[in-house]
């Protein structure tokens, strides 16, 4: 029930933007003409219509970066990276923007090739491979039970499918265990992180724009966030960060 109005709104904004584009140019043309705020508006409308397009998130990130909105740009690059982690351009721009925020794409102490391999597949792709291997394993096992005479040949294929199921399942599980369940990016120039969910609590530390944080819990207008790099956590106003969930 709630999905229908949201889709309608996205459709309306897309129609509106289509009308604007015909008068002012496409977002790409606006970007090329250095009208970055116009490009941001255009790509934002397109992203609302196609939230699972890595290219659109990437292009919106580029427009935001050029428009001086580092935090929001990193949020969009992160979404694009989550959708298509093998894309070299997305990887480059995310790393470039993170450096501006004082962070590295590859965490300190992690060999870059290991980080690349660990993020070779997107979360959805990993889940897809895991389920494909699961289907194959169970179907082959069923066939082996039904056709005892062919169980030997089927068994080898089944063992391979089972190994793939365990491999991709383990990979998927490791990603889920090691990565924050929900990530957010600081979008204010300096976000004040307090020791509790309210203005009455003292400011424990500040975080610069563009810093990626983990969302731990929520309390009204406040989010409890964690900074993995520094091992710190605290509460920040929800409008100081942009949450980067599953597109």
């Amino acid at each position: 029930m709630t999905r229908t109005p949201a889709l309608s709104a996205a459709g309306l904004s897309l129609l509106f933007w289509a009308a604007v584009c015909s008068a002012q140019g496409t977002p790409a043309e606006l970007y090329a003409a250095a009208d970055y705020s116009g490009a941001v508006a255009g790509y934002a409308a397109l992203v609302a219509d196609q939230p699972r397009s890595a290219s659109l998130h990437y292009n919106l990130g580029n427009s935001l970066f050029k428009d001086g909105q580092l935090g929001r740009a990193i949020a969009e690059y992160q979404r694009a990276f989550d959708l298509r982690p093998r894309d070299r351009d997305i990887r480059h721009n995310l790393g470039f923007a993170l450096k501006r925020a004082g962070e590295d794409l590859v965490p300190p102490g992690v060999p870059p090739f290991l980080h690349y391999l660990f993020h070779l597949l997107s979360g959805r792709e990993l889940a897809g491979l895991h389920w494909l291997a699961c289907w194959a394993t169970l179907i082959l096992a069923s066939a082996a039970l039904l056709r005892r005479s062919a169980a030997g040949a089927i068994g080898w294929w089944g063992a391979g499918a089972l190994a793939a199921w365990l491999f991709f399942g383990g990979w998927w599980g490791a990603r889920a265990a090691l990565e924050p369940s929900e990530r957010a990016v600081v979008i204010k120039a300096t976000a004040e992180i307090r020791s509790g969910p309210g203005d009455g609590f003292s400011v424990a530390f500040t975080a610069p724009e563009g810093r990626r944080v983990s969302v731990l819990s929520e309390n009204g207008r406040w989010l409890e966030i964690g900074l993995d790099l520094e091992g710190a956590k605290g509460w920040v106003l929800a409008d100081s960060v942009e949450r980067v969930g599953e597109p």
Binding site: S55, N62, H92, F96, S122, E125, A127, G128, C134
Partner: protein
């Protein structure tokens, strides 16, 4: 013509330092040539030459003065590609004796050649309104308050103290050495600085003088201050400060003594006594700088600083030089500031940074500025940015590290001429890419995910459909297990399937009743005999009624004689129907219905 060419060639073959020495100029000057004994003069020595690193001048021996180094300032200029610089060293000289004094030649040596200044004559006059040492004996000054001096109060003493005993490493500690006297001195006292190890020291001129009351006695005092910066954490000791002074010694004069005249002519009527006074050592314990929160670019600056950056032009052409000036100023040990780390600027050719220093000691606090000048040459045209430059320091008042930064500077670089661009391009190693600038990559105009990715994403999004293979497997597994169980227990299989088989025959018999009554009767009989055979684990073919009754009695003890009779009746009725289908039948119930009822009773009663 040939001679001048040869001379030029010979000059060009001279070692570079000699030529540099010949080009170095040194000048010395004072702010006044006549000075009162309680005043001071400022000596400025200027060294100039065609190099960024100039040698430091060497002062001559100045026994008539106490010398304090005050400051130096460094100016560098680039004109038509040539570098010239000058350093001005400032010294404060405090006279020690009345009379004529000479500041000897100040020399600077480089490349084995020495250049020096002319000597400067200074006349030191007695201070106005004060007694001149040696003009007559002085008596202890009366206390302005009229209080009686305490009997133990000394005539002359030295004290040393610091403003803080637990500073951080490289934080300023001000050492104050005070010399008190309540008697007339014969000449200016000589001050030997305390032994200071473990500190970087900076004089804080001028020497201060005044009157003070101490223990009911009025003293004239002189104070010398020194800024100390602990070089390392831990305990450091400032050694005793020593003052050597001559004071008047009371002499009992006996005009009839045999050596009266000898003493009168050799010493005068007043006796002089040498006094050597020392202060107590001062202990300072320096705390280390905290390791938490230390920025990566921190180089040891402690104090309070600000940083600013400026460029001399904002619209140069590619290949033209732009002077970047970064100024770090504030309070702290400016001399110890490390080099400034400039951010990576691949769009520029960056030349070596030259720094100059300016010190100030207002209110006994060492402060000033350090200016870093760097020549940048844009490699390419277009809008370029000099990124923000950061400078980190430790603020002891806040007890935390602070990172000061400049805003980014933007330039609009025009296209340069071919020669300049070629010169810049030549700086890149042959055969390699030359990184010019770093930026994000351009938009993606038509890149979408692959079909395999889309397939995998669709599979991942299947939701509840992923239960299907599990259900399939569970069903196949259950069926297989059931089949295996049946195969391993044929008697049980017969027992469990007995009723089903009997009902099947009943159904077939009902269907054939009209067309083939004999066959239908035969099927009913088979239904009963096979059912009993399956249930009682006996072959149906040789089964007799007697055997059936015996087996029922053994395996179905719950059945009574009435049920046995019903079985017997049913058996005999079906035999009759099978073997004599035309024989007259009673008006009882239909045999098939009766058999179905009997089977229900037997199904409940016969257990395996």
């Amino acid at each position: 013509m040939t001679t001048s060419l040869l001379l030029a060639a010979a000059l060009s073959l001279l070692p570079a330092p000699l030529r540099a020495a010949a080009d170095i100029m040194i000048r010395a000057g004072v702010d006044k040539t006549s000075v009162a004994l309680n005043d001071q003069i400022v000596l400025e020595v200027s060294v100039a030459g065609p190099s960024t690193s100039m040698p430091e001048p060497k002062l001559p021996s100045l026994p008539n003065f106490s010398v304090y180094s005050s400051a130096n300032s460094h100016n560098i200029s680039f004109i038509n590609g040539k570098v010239s610089s000058s350093i001005v060293y400032t010294y404060v000289l405090v006279p020690r004796f009345v009379g004529k004094a000479v500041i000897g030649p100040v020399a600077v040596t480089t490349g084995g050649t020495t250049v020096q200044t002319d000597p400067i004559e200074i006349e030191v006059v007695p201070p106005a309104g004060t007694r001149v040492p040696g003009q007559g004996p002085a008596s202890p000054r009366p206390s302005p308050s009229g209080a009686r001096p305490s009997p133990g109060a000394p005539d002359i003493f030295v004290m040393a103290d610091v403003d803080k005993k637990k500073p951080f490493v490289n934080e300023q500690v001000t050492l104050s050495v005070k010399f008190f006297t309540s008697v007339q001195l014969l000449g200016n006292p000589q001050y030997d600085t305390p032994k200071i190890s473990g500190f970087l020291a900076e004089d804080l001129p001028p020497e201060r003088h005044g009157n003070i009351e101490h223990h009911g006695r009025s003293y004239y005092y002189s104070e010398i201050k020194t800024a100390l910066f602990p070089a390392s954490a831990g305990k450091h000791v400032v050694g005793p400060a020593t003052v050597r002074a001559q004071i008047q010694r009371d002499v009992t004069i006996d005009p009839y003594a045999p050596d009266f005249f000898q003493r009168f002519f050799s010493q005068g009527l007043v006796g002089a006594e040498d006094k050597v006074l020392s202060s107590e050592p001062v202990e300072i314990r320096a705390d280390p700088l905290p390791s938490e929160g230390k920025p990566p670019d921190f180089t040891g600056a402690v104090g309070r600083f600000s940083v600013s950056a400026a460029i001399d032009r904002t619209e140069p052409k590619a290949g033209e030089a732009v002077n970047l000036t970064v100024t770090v100023q504030g309070t702290g040990n400016i001399k110890a500031l490390g080099d400034l780390k400039l951010p990576d600027m691949p769009s520029f050719r960056v030349y070596d940074t030259v720094s100059s220093l300016s010190l100030d000691r207002t209110k006994d606090v060492v402060n000033g500025s350090k200016v870093f000048k760097t020549v940048l040459v844009p490699k390419v045209s277009g809008p370029l940015t000099i990124p923000s430059i950061t400078f980190s320091y430790f603020d002891p008042s806040k007890r935390q590290y602070v990172q000061a930064s400049t805003p980014a500077l933007r330039l609009k670089v025009g296209e340069g001429d071919a020669a300049a661009s070629a010169a810049v391009a030549a700086s890149a190693p042959a055969g390699r890419l030359s990184a010019v600038s770093e930026d994000i990559r351009y938009l993606k105009l038509n890149a979408e995910s692959s079909a395999l990715s889309r397939l995998l994403e669709a599979v991942a999004s299947a939701g509840n459909a992923h239960t299907a293979p599990f259900l399939l497997f569970a069903a196949v597994l259950s069926m297989t297990m059931y089949q295996e169980r049946e195969a391993s227990d044929p008697k049980g299989k017969r027992f469990r399937g007995a009723l089903k088989a009997a009902r099947k025959r009943l159904t077939q018999a009902a269907a054939l009743k009209a067309e083939d009554p004999k066959r239908a009767s035969s099927l009913l009989s088979e239904a009963l005999t096979h059912y009993l055979g399956d249930k009682l684990d006996a072959p149906a073919s040789g089964l007799t009624l007697r055997r059936v009754i015996d087996l029922l009695a053994a395996k179905a003890p719950g059945l009574g004689s009435r049920e046995h009779d019903e079985v017997r009746e049913m058996w005999e009725e079906l035999d009759l129907l099978r073997f004599a289908p035309s024989a007259p039948r009673g008006k009882g119930a239909d045999p098939a219905e009766k058999l179905a009822s009997l089977l229900k009773i037997l199904e409940k009663a016969v257990r395996r």
